[in-house]
Subunit: 543 residues, 2 copies
């Protein structure tokens, strides 16, 4: 390989870890790693000003070629002199290739050797995204670092499919590099190969023969388990040359990022810090704080006492709780601003510890803190009652196998978590829309014993395991929680309730999946449909 355009320099290597600190130079400045890149999908990071991104220490923003190709279009960037001038961003920009977005669209695409054909969501036009068009677009955008067009597949794909994707990615890498022509922009290759070590090796070796300025690890965070991701990340990072930046695409939570730094990765991007901010989730030095919780209603404490960001120096948890509960845009802005600052501050601490060769203790410290829920206000789960309840409200348990019956009307409540075929296929079709679509809203107007609602949740989890899905917001309306309360006392007979979501829903009126980010279930008290509830895309029939 010829020397990197990035004038890459390895500053330090941690002892007892693969973690490293590096410095390199883009067309817009000096970059120090490890670093996190906030995602500016459409040439704006959700609800953040460029000024606040700059002040928080953002060095590089990621922008999405797929979205920018469609709107505002490459001609706007060409005419106005590139994305930096367009959005007035003084720092560096990395553009992805559009591959990830194309392959997460289930419809309206055809894959050939030439590229992928898809239909524009802006004007319905059919577009062939080839390596050449991707690079031309990234050249027009004028990013500092361009990514090759790759073929993304679920990380759980079988070996044959994974090998085919890897081979086409290698051929497209050659074409992407050629399409750069005389541009001074840097370009990264992307290692694919799903969860197969041998394929990851073949992919890395193939790409290393080409003249890339850095390497990305692709095809992770798309369906695999955390442990699998970490293993493949470690293995792949070790295959990559020591004198180029290593970038793990689309990862992750602060903990995921920390784990990958430990495994030798330098760069990260993820929508998580701004996405979870919208629902009031904050990462702090005292664990994960869910600002919706009423425990913060009167809290005069800052969000994170150890944080120096403008939000923590100004506002109270009480105000952020209020903005979250009222879904005010300022809440999204402020919590997102803190979260981005938190990622950057973590990366700065990590870098400093590597330079001073004390990374491992720092790693162990943060590894304990990061996954915990709010340390200072732990969530307490109410104690279980041991006496069996046979009746709640107007509902009773009767029959063998036991059923839940309304005592007056004698109607039996459905306790089979099943959807009819039409509803199921309707939901599946909706879920296959792009992951950055607004949440699919499903109304469950008859909560009963939550069997239908749980069927939706199980369906979502199954689809999410297969690959990329759109967020889903399930809204149940109920003016009588008795049948569900009764059923929860008898989980042995109603095993679908072992899932745990319904327990949380009853306790807090809201449940959010920890595993499937984007899956949310809320309870509206009152049978009548409430004007405050988000409007439905899908209405569940009564079981």
């Amino acid at each position: 390989m010829s020397p990197s355009r990035l004038q890459f320099q390895l500053d330090a290597q941690a002892s007892g870890s693969r973690a490293r600190a590096t410095t390199f130079h883009t067309l817009h400045g000096t970059i120090r790693s490890p670093l996190f890149m906030p995602v500016g999908t459409q040439a704006t990071v959700k609800a953040q000003t460029q000024e606040s991104l700059h002040e928080s220490g953002s060095q590089i923003l990621l922008a999405n070629t797929y979205h920018l190709l469609l709107r505002p279009g490459p001609d706007v960037f060409s005419k106005l002199g590139g994305i930096h001038k367009f959005m007035k961003w003084p720092g560096s920009v990395l553009t992805d290739s559009g591959g990830y977005q194309i392959f997460s669209l289930p419809h309206s695409r055809e894959m050939t050797e030439k590229g992928a054909v898809f239909q524009s969501y802006v004007d319905g036009q059919r577009i062939l995204l080839s390596p050449e068009l991707s690079i031309q677009t990234q050249r027009a955008i004028g990013s500092d670092i361009m990514m090759v067009l790759d073929q993304c597949i679920p990380s759980t794909a079988d070996e044959k499919a994974a090998r085919a994707a890897l081979q086409i990615t290698q051929r497209w890498a050659v074409r992407s590099l050629a399409a750069r022509e005389d541009s001074p922009q840097s370009m990264f290759g992307i290692v694919q190969g799903a969860l197969y070590p041998q394929l990851r090796r073949e992919s890395a070796e193939g790409l290393m023969q080409l003249d890339f300025d850095g390497f990305a690890i692709g095809g992770l965070a798309v369906g695999e388990e955390k442990q699998e991701r970490e293993d493949v990340c470690e293995l792949t990072a070790a295959l990559l040359p020591a004198d180029r930046p290593r970038y793990l695409m689309g990862v992750g939570t602060p903990l995921d990022v920390l784990e990958a730094v430990h495994r030798g990765v330098d760069m990260f991007d993820c929508i998580i810090p701004t996405q979870v901010a919208k629902r009031g989730t904050a990462f702090t030095s005292r664990g994960i704080v869910e600002l919706r919780r009423s425990v913060y209603k009167f809290s005069e404490a800052p969000l994170d006492p150890a944080c120096t960001c403008p939000v923590c120096s100004t506002h109270t948890r009480a105000y952020l709780h209020h903005l979250t509960k009222t879904q005010e845009p300022l809440g999204w802005t402020l919590v997102g601003q803190h979260n981005i600052h938190f990622y950057h501050q973590l990366m700065r601490e990590v870098r400093q510890s590597i330079l001073e060769d004390r990374f491992l203790p720092l790693y162990h410290h943060w590894r304990e803190i990061l996954p915990i829920e709010d340390i200072d206000h732990p969530v307490t789960h109410p104690k279980r009652t041991s006496t069996k309840v046979e009746m709640v409200g107007d509902y009773e348990l009767c029959g063998d196998p036991p059923a839940i019956r309304h005592r007056i009307s004698t109607r039996t409540v459905c306790t089979t978590p099943q959807l009819d075929a039409t509803t199921e296929s309707q939901i599946v079709q909706h879920l296959r829309q792009p992951a950055d679509s607004p949440p699919l809203v499903v109304w469950d107007t008859h909560l009963d014993a939550a069997a239908t609602a749980l069927a939706v949740i199980l369906l979502y989890e199954a689809e999410a395991a297969k690959g990329h899905v759109r967020p889903l917001h399930l809204v149940s309306f109920s003016d009588d929680l008795s049948p569900l309360r009764l059923a929860l006392h008898h989980k042995r007979h109603f095993p679908y309730l072992r899932h745990g979501a319904a327990d949380t829903l009853i306790r807090r009126d809201v449940w959010e999946s920890r595993y499937c980010i984007g899956l949310k279930w809320t309870l509206v008290h009152g049978a009548a449909v409430d004007a405050q509830a988000p409007a439905a895309d899908v209405l569940l029939p009564r079981a």
Copy 2:
């Protein structure tokens, strides 16, 4: 009356106009009028930071007692030391009384001499909003200026209803004042009386016998014509004492505000600057700029070349156009920030001109500029064709009276703008929700000749004329505009199309009412329902 708590001072009075410049002092600082108060409904101005509000020169924010009573609740303000500390706002705050919100809720309220009973949208609790509760809540909030609880009625109410409302408002004013007790907060009375000069006089005289620190003109901007509003405003302002601030509630556009300054009013509040920012409407020194228009796609010009706000000194129209088209929250923030700055800058110029006794020429200058659409890029309407078209696509005009018929299936397209009773009552019920509810989304999946869509628009306009309505977003889906194009060539036969909305829709894919703020109609090309379209609250049946 005893001396005002506000240490009011009349700085200057314009020649040939009732416009005046005043200075007064709240618990949080010196206020100079004329001034505009941005609306911070829930202790936050939509999508704006307190820092940017302060920098733009906001002197007073308005906060809504009704919303803050429900969430976060007065106990939060009591415990945390008032709204200034809660939201970290260094300037002054005025709170309304909750009257306006209560009376714009059509359901779940009962009016008695005691107060108004309504149901909380947060927890369903029934609450009696009495003058005493309103003032207690405003005391807990700790605003600088409190408003009495008044009874709001449509400005078009008959004289008997208007007189009754005025009389109860007078009795409630006495109770509100008593409920202030020893608080150092100022309090304004509210002149009611709909459009009846005699009632306005009675109301003002009654209130002037009480010890208020200022007076508001209420019950305007709720259904009357612009000219009526201006006449009543002028008449009422002239009735009020010269040594107290005069506040016109809920008004208006920059032009409305200018007209009212000319008529002797000092203070204004309105949601318009942030509300219209969401759809990319900006007020500028070159007229009203609709940032959605594609004429700005490549524009490197600032939004307003004469403006010194951070948005105009940083960003291009091209970037703001892009953020508006992609509905990014940053677009809302930036355009709102500019609009608020524009109002304040206009008020500062007006004040300076009054102090220098050159208000009238400034008034005439702005009165010409403010209502114009973008001066530099005027909207051009395509020329009408004079030859009559009898066929468009697969549709033809036939019969007498003429109908529009699909040539192949021979289906006749509906050209009667009518809704079935169920749909109509469903929409009306939705519309009667609070005006600050999210827009009601109505899907029209069969545009045909737009008869059903126009029926919705006419229904909305009729309801809006009766009083306060919620915003409405009508989304039509069509893969064949031929029947509508054909009908538009023959408006003589299809008089419902004289409305003009359909012409604009076909030309621009979007129409927004100039008269009913909040009424919007967009066209989605393609018969299939599009994931990008907002989810439907109401689905129109095919006519």
